[in-house]
């Protein structure tokens, strides 16, 4: 009887002893038992031109920050979205970045790559593995992993990887290879989800400043051998937000468009929605190379969502001679095209605006299908013809030669010109072309605004003759107009103003 009376107390004692023992063992496991996660203190000069740091002045082993597929065991949807994203393919597993990085290393030495690594290769940088003597390492091809972002605890400066990472406070068995202990880890996380959330989510993660930490780049002299140069700037426009009625998620932040809410039963879902971790933007090149139709379609859907527009503003066809130019005694047409950026919260194109291609394509045919005028006609893999109006930032190197590759590899020293569309900016372009005698009316006019991630010339340089699928041409906007005979201007002694405005139809959502 005496023994039976004390049974509950004995069980409680046993549970208490087991708990204390487990906790002590877990503490040992996390600190002393795993010699491969012992952190070494670094000296500040290790980071070179990079603004990235760790909070405690110690390296963080790549294994601690790179366990993304393990996160995917519970956060399956989020993992698969990230897995396809350009955040995953940001490192030496991005052939475009790899080529540029190799070029920078050849010109400026491998130490220079630390400047790029804060945003492209956080694992090798934060773990002290740089400079890399082998590009085929696991960490050098891991990209921006879950914990690379979810352990950022401080932002400093605006851009250039100005952030600090804290080593993750891992639950026991977080890094184990053994399924049994993985189950124990899962259980621990599920028992204390508030700790998991507190460790991995910070209030500033929903702000634009978080993204700007990497999406604004001032190239330092250590890279271009001259004065610092802003080569990417998504920081100065984010606050303006996006006018209502354009994109589906309007919050005025980067995340509002690039991490829209999508349906999911992921454990992180709120009311059945998570923020997409596809980080969709204009990069159609990487999913094309990876044959990832889901990611490619997500990017195309965003680009086709009417974020930039094109319209036929007006057409004038005049008969007779131009009083300013006696040689122009032929019927000629003047076409006005309006392009605008109503829906992008930053300049368009953003990102690597020197190697991206956005351009205006014009086609004019008469009633018998004869082509009267074309501009900017190109298909995937084809160079744009001379005279094409492009939206781009054009840089020159120290010799004044225009760069046709990434600014870092060409050591750009100055911005020669920019034709990017600022948020809400509108611009009217004028095209003039002859209309020969005998042309059959009405004229059919078509204007397109096209997008291609990376120019063919840049791709050719990247792959050095190796065959790859060229990035697709995506149709951002389209307008059509018909110009009848009755609208031809009869006066011949002056340049006709654009008065014959005809109907135009912008049809975003159509694809070539």
């Amino acid at each position: 009887m005496h023994v039976k009376r004390n049974q509950p107390a004995a069980i409680l004692w046993l549970v208490a002893i087991a708990t204390v023992t487990s906790a002590a063992w877990a503490a040992w496991y996390l600190t002393i038992g795993m010699d491969d996660v012992v952190r070494l203190r670094y000296v500040d000069r290790y980071f070179g031109a990079s603004a990235t740091r760790t909070v405690d002045g110690r390296f963080i082993p790549a294994k601690e920050l790179g366990n993304s597929d393990y996160c995917g065991h519970c956060h399956t949807d989020i993992f698969h979205q990230w897995d396809a994203s350009t955040h995953h393919f940001s490192s030496f597993n991005d052939p475009y970045y790899r080529r540029v990085a190799l070029d920078v290393a050849a010109r400026r030495g491998p130490e220079a790559l630390k400047f790029c690594a804060g945003c492209h290769d956080p694992l090798p940088l934060l773990s002290g593995e740089m400079p890399l003597d082998n590009l085929e390492t696991w960490s050098g091809n891991a990209g921006i992993t879950c914990l690379s972002c979810h352990r950022i605890v401080e932002l400093h400066g605006r851009g250039n990887g100005g952030y600090s990472v804290s080593p993750p406070t891992l639950h026991p068995f977080a890094l184990t290879d053994r399924p049994f202990m993985q189950q124990a880890h899962k259980l621990l996380v599920k028992l204390t989800p508030f700790l998991h959330k507190k460790v991995l989510l910070k209030p500033f993660y929903s702000s634009s400043e978080y993204c700007v930490g990497c999406h604004t780049v001032r190239m330092p002299g250590a890279i271009n051998g001259a004065a610092a140069l802003v080569v990417q700037d998504e920081s100065s426009h984010g606050e303006q937000g996006v006018p209502a009625g354009h994109a589906p998620a309007q919050t005025g932040t980067c995340q509002g468009c690039h991490m829209p809410l999508v349906r999911s039963d992921d454990p992180a879902a709120h009311d059945g929605f998570i923020h997409s971790h596809r980080f969709v933007g204009g990069n159609t090149a990487i999913p094309t190379l990876n044959r990832d139709t889901n990611q490619l379609q997500a990017a195309i859907s965003m680009l086709e969502n009417g974020i930039v527009k094109i319209a036929i503003e007006g057409v004038t066809v005049s008969d007779g001679c131009d009083k300013h130019d006696a040689r122009r005694c032929e019927r000629h047409a003047e076409l006005a095209i309006r392009i605008s950026n109503p829906g992008v919260g930053h300049a368009f194109p953003g990102g690597t605006a020197d190697s991206n291609e956005a351009w205006v394509q014009i086609g004019v045919r008469d009633a018998l299908e004869a082509t009267l005028f074309t501009s900017g006609t190109a298909t995937a893999g084809q160079e744009l013809p001379p005279g094409t109006y492009t939206l781009a930032a054009r840089y020159v190197d120290r010799h004044g030669v225009r760069t046709n590759r990434r600014t870092t590899s060409t050591e750009a020293v100055s911005l020669e010109a920019t034709t990017v569309l600022e948020p809400k900016e509108e611009r009217v372009l004028h095209y003039n072309f002859p209309v020969p005698a005998g042309t059959s009316f009405p004229l059919a006019i078509e204007a397109r605004l096209n997008w291609r991630k990376f120019s063919p010339g840049f791709s050719e340089w990247v792959f050095e003759g190796r065959a790859v699928e060229p990035p697709p041409v995506t149709l951002l906007g389209r307008a059509e107009a018909s110009f009848p005979q009755s609208a031809v201007h009869q006066e011949s002694d002056h340049v006709t103003p654009i008065t014959a405005v005809v109907d135009s139809a912008v049809s975003p959502g159509l694809r070539r």
């Binding site: 597929d69 991005d94 052939p95 790899r98 696991w138 891991a142 399924p179 990876n290 889901n294 790859v468």
Partner: protein, 131 residues
């Protein structure tokens, strides 16, 4: 077997965690566009030697020089479609890096052809060449 021995066996003999290898359906059904010829076979062999052999060994048995893996690749390859292999080489997972930057689309398919030839060699069959 005592309970203690059983627990030890479970803990020690459990297979190493193999990563999150769930391949999307679309990727699983991708078709290999590269046909096997004498030329492509040689190219594929070179790619395997330079990118895969150091971990997987010359025949895929897991006896690489720099970092051994704990399984025979040929036993896994035989269970997977070309699309699944392509996806895994592209994305990498667990301890295997992504090869999307090192190998072009075509080169990844070539490596898959080579993996198939390793399986065929092990089982005594040879790949038919198309010239």
């Amino acid at each position: 077997m005592s309970p203690r021995s059983l627990l030890s066996l479970i803990l020690l003999s459990a297979p190493a965690y193999g990563g999150n290898w769930n391949v999307p359906v679309e990727a699983r059904n991708l078709q290999n566009p590269v046909t096997v010829t004498a030329g492509t076979r040689q190219q594929a062999s070179k790619l395997f030697t330079s990118h895969c052999q150091q971990c997987h060994g010359p025949l895929g048995a897991g006896d690489g020089e720099s970092q051994k893996v704990s399984y025979d690749l040929r036993g896994i390859v035989v269970k997977l479609t070309d699309g699944e292999l392509y996806w895994k080489i592209t994305h990498g997972v667990g301890k295997m890096p992504s090869f999307a930057g090192a190998l072009t689309d075509e080169e990844r398919w070539l490596v898959i052809n080579h993996l198939r030839s390793l399986v065929a060699a092990k089982s005594g069959f040879t790949h038919k060449s198309q010239n």
